[in-house]
Amino acid sequence: MSEREKIWDLVSQSCMHLDSEQYDSYLELLDDSYEYIISCFSPDLRKEMVLLQLNKNEMGTLLKNIHNHIHLPGKLFRQASLYSVERKPDDRYSAMSYVTVTYTNLDGVSAIFCVGRYHDDIAGRENGLRLMSRRFAMETRDIGTGCHYPI
């Protein structure tokens, strides 16, 4: 596979593992130094807002506790399209993907849940590419009543 294909594969796997709630598989894609942020710009406050910020350990704890919560009863589908890849020194890459997440409720009705962009920092490791950081720059500001899952 080309570098771009490998990165596309990594981004796709990150979506598929979260969608299918295969959290151990998702966590395997993350470097130990992983940092995850969901942010969006508020035109009400005219400020950037951080909505979720986790390191790898915190992400693991959050994912493994979701079942303890009353949470969205339907399914999220994360659809990412890789738009750009920039090669950096030391086997590092910056990648940007457009993201659309749909939610299908218990009655089978699907609707767009949120849209935004993944800004990923990726590093080559002995066991393959790993996500160093991901910022989901969310364009959507209203995700309904909320969400226990990362995007």
Partner: protein, 406 residues
Amino acid sequence: MGRTAEAWQSPPEIPGEDYISNAIYTDPDLFKEELEAVKKRTWKFACHESEIPNVNDFRRVNHAGVPLIVVRSDDGNIRSFINACSHRAALVVRELSGNARNWTCLFHHWCFDTRGNCIHIPRDEAYDKVGLCKEKLGLRVVRTQTRLGMVFVNLDDGAPPLDDYLGDALENLVPVMGDPERSLEVFHYSKTIVRANWKQWHETNMDPYHEYLHYVNRRVAMKGDGYHDRVWKIYSGAHATLSPMRQRYEAVKGWTSRNTMPMPGMMPDEFRTVKIFPDTNVLVRATVMRIDTSSPISPNETLVEWRGLGVKGESAEDRAMRTQHHNQFWGPFGRNLYEDAYAIECVDEANRGGGGAYSILARHEDMRTQDDGLLRAYYQEWGRLMGRPAHDPKRRLSNSLGASGL
């Protein structure tokens, strides 16, 4: 044993103040009436003054379906106006917030300053024949007063002043929000439309025993020392506060105690809450504050807004910690917020088609934490304003204040 249709539809055999009819959530006529008798007659939290810190800063808000502009005018005073042009009622301000010395309506370019004066009408001599002039065509002023940095509006020009309305209800917030050396600012704002009645959102703030619903609240609060021994204090007008307690944030795996950098006037890990009738709730979880408020759209659609507040001018590191604490519970990706909203949407789904008939508010525990006393006081006040008892809302009270008698 299940109940027959007749038994299900019959009022509970308990005192009237201990239950309410679910028609108050679903009946479209009652909804229209309460907009006039309750929402448009009471003081409404609109925003925090930190959202408009500079002269000519403005902010759009919605109150009872009416679009408003809140602005810090050129003299530094905070004013509010209905966001409708005096000409044909188009929105004068379309941006959600901003800074402008004046606003020009997009439709026919009528122009207004931040004190509501109409300052320009293109070719205004055309109105000379009917005697209209700019001086008579200002924006509709909405009464606006501020307390502890919270900006309140009232659509009723004859309503009592805000200080009379609130009385001492904010006393527990004075140490938190009233320190001039450590003023607060909003760093988080989100909103959504919840598919439930507006009162049901506020009910989640008045009924702590729904905390059984929340995984994190069960650990942080309900197993804490003194949880059940707190006491509700209810003020005139059905505002309320619950005596503070320390909570155990470290009881949630991956979370830590909130024993550093508490909000002004707060003890480490302390929790405080103040309820402002009829739709605003202030929560302080040691290091961070949330203010939420709701605006009705229809009987089963409610705009709910959430604000997170920290200390103005604090370091980026401190703000990051406060933001994390805010988001753990209350952000759109938090562990608490979705669950409240989902719960009341479940209630609404049952009520909408007539599935639910009555709701029971009959817990009596000497006004301690899980007593329904605040809900009873809330619906007493609602009934007084509506001129209808909440348990039998089709009946008119004598000597009522309700909308039809105004």
